[in-house]
Symmetry: C2
Subunit: 367 residues, 2 copies
């Protein structure tokens, strides 16, 4: 059983876009105990739809299991008997940290689409302040999957002395054109939904559910592998006969529509927009003429990278790019390419080889 906590920050935060956030809150959770030397802290960074609620359950809702509960807990690969684990909802989020649903002090109304487009760099800067707040001078490790992995990588660049290990899982050093394309279609679905109201839908008492639903359906296709979709759904029909209408004929349609509807019922569309831009913009090699090895030269951490064979959103090749760039810099790098049929979503599942690799890596971290 865990409970979220809230930290308020009064020092203005200059964002990459140039705007200044005068003050903000971060909602976070912790698991385990910080040791006296403060050397056993691990930060878990969330991906597109994740939150600070990484592990455990809330007292009033036994179904409220954290999104990475299979990895984080007592006796689990990230063992909370050894480590003090912190989960945080990022700026711009919709789970309690300052974001589009918060009140804009300049107007007294929700920020809506006026909330600045925050980036991975901004998130890491804010996470740095949370570390200060918690009395953590240096993380034993920062871990994340997908967009979370980008934050772990960014930690090694923005605060090289404050992170000993980075675990970058199912991630990439930047998006491809195809990745950006999928994100932009998802954004266009939201932006063109008549209920979006230029991002100020809160005031209209509606949400752009149609657009958010489509965005999630598109996303889901890219999270699963072709193989796994074939295994799980194939051409299995709902009912004996084809309907010759636009109702559900195939189980895959039912699954995707259900996932889309569910997501549209709780996630904030402005947060979705911001988060996809954070993904698009992340490109640490951008300032180095595309030379990733040069970009990563200032990293001091040791690295574990993990990829999954059927992940076509961030394929193993994308992890290998980072491995090569780190090896070029003579960093301490471990890399595991896990056989898995589950595509990008593999990083959230409890594949035994994957968990064994991550567990062994954490076992080897001295605290």
């Amino acid at each position: 059983m865990v409970a979220p906590q809230r930290a308020h920050f009064d020092a203005p935060l200059r964002l990459r876009c140039g705007s200044i956030l005068p003050a903000y809150d971060l909602v976070y959770e912790t698991y385990g105990e910080l040791n006296a030397a403060g050397t056993n802290a691990v930060l878990v960074c969330h991906a597109l739809s994740g939150s600070h609620h990484v592990a455990g359950v809330y007292g009033d809702d036994p179904r409220s299991v954290g999104w990475w509960d299979n990895l984080v807990g007592p006796g689990k690969p990230l063992d909370t008997r050894k480590f003090f684990v912190v989960g945080v909802n990022n700026l711009g989020g919709c789970y309690g940290s300052t974001g589009p649903m918060s009140v804009n002090p300049a107007t007294g109304r929700p920020w809506g689409a006026d909330f600045p487009v925050v980036t991975v760099e901004d998130w890491v800067a804010a996470q740095g302040r949370l570390a200060d707040h918690l009395g953590i001078q240096q993380w034993a490790a920062v871990i994340g999957g997908s967009l979370g992995g980008m934050q772990a990588l960014q930690w090694t660049l923005e605060f090289p002395e404050r992170i000993r290990h980075a675990l970058v899982i199912a991630s990439a050093p930047k998006l491809t054109a195809q990745n950006i394309a999928f994100n932009d279609v998802a954004r266009q679905a939201i932006l063109t939904d008549p209920d979006f109201h230029g991002g100020h839908y809160y005031e209209h008492g509606v949400v752009p559910a149609r657009g958010l639903r489509l965005a999630r359906m598109i996303g889901h296709i890219t999270y699963l592998s072709d193989d796994q979709m074939a295994e799980k759904f194939g051409r299995r029909q709902r009912g004996d006969k084809l309907k010759f209408s636009y109702d559900v004929d195939f189980e895959i349609e039912s699954y995707l529509r259900y996932q889309g509807d569910k997501f549209a019922g709780f996630f904030d569309a402005n947060t979705y927009l911001i988060t996809t831009k954070a993904l698009d913009y992340f490109d640490p090699a951008g300032d180095y003429g595309g030379d990733l090895a040069a970009a990563l030269a200032r990293a001091r951490a040791a690295f574990l990278l993990v990829s999954f064979t059927t992940d076509w959103r961030f394929a193993p090749e994308r992890s290998r790019e980072m491995v090569f760039a780190l090896v070029h810099n003579r960093r301490d790098v471990s890399y595991a390419e896990i056989e898995s049929s589950a595509g990008h979503d593999s990083f959230l599942l409890d594949d035994p080889h994957y968990h064994a690799v991550v567990g062994a890596y954490f076992d080897g971290i001295k605290v």
Copy 2:
């Protein structure tokens, strides 16, 4: 210079869905001359967004080049000095053949979404009647790419004696779950557009342009390869600086939005819906417990199959499935797997190896 023609059919057509179309028109074009023996006719079947306008230009618009003009014409791989070539707009289409925009004789108003969901089988049945109308007892060949290739395959099953050669290009014997998933997201974008009005948008003086635009953007991602998107667009930005807004940052966004807008300006949404269902439903092995070899046993034609290495919509593996099933039946099968970076769209491009293969195959057809 060509001009479309129109054939009216009064004999009722029983569709696979059970409905009966009492009468219908097919719009078609022809190129070259039918020889006296009637042995040199080739039918070209179109894919999702194609039409009867396969080759040549219309007199009043020099930009109106047919969609497969690089393949079809005098001296081209499908040489109209040798062959009499026929292009036809399929039933349910939006280029003049009877479809959702036509008047429903039962109501005196446009069919709209009440137009029956037609299938590949229905299209081939209607094309058979067009062949009768044109005095073509047997096609020298039927050719198509993608969904057009499915029609060529279906011809060999529905009218085994009326087709001597089938050219099945960048196609598949059925859709995968992932293929269906992309189609259903596209459909949901259209169906949930408030301007769709249950498919009767014509009467409201609007079109579901937002939905159709999204559908086309999604489609386009699957038509191009990841490699080609990287080559053509990569992360190239429009303008020097990131915008930190939802305007275009990257060229790939501009390209996709442009393609979506253009398509939404001329294509009919109901036709798009019908056509994606025709794709989803095509599965000749379905009645044979999934045994494609059993399903293709009744084919008598010789086959050329062509696939493209970077096509991930209908990957080479999908063509090989058909090749194996045909070889199992000791059919005359040729197969070419073309190295191309252009993904599924390769079938529309004039890659020299591809055109050489198709040209040589047509050269070898006796008329």
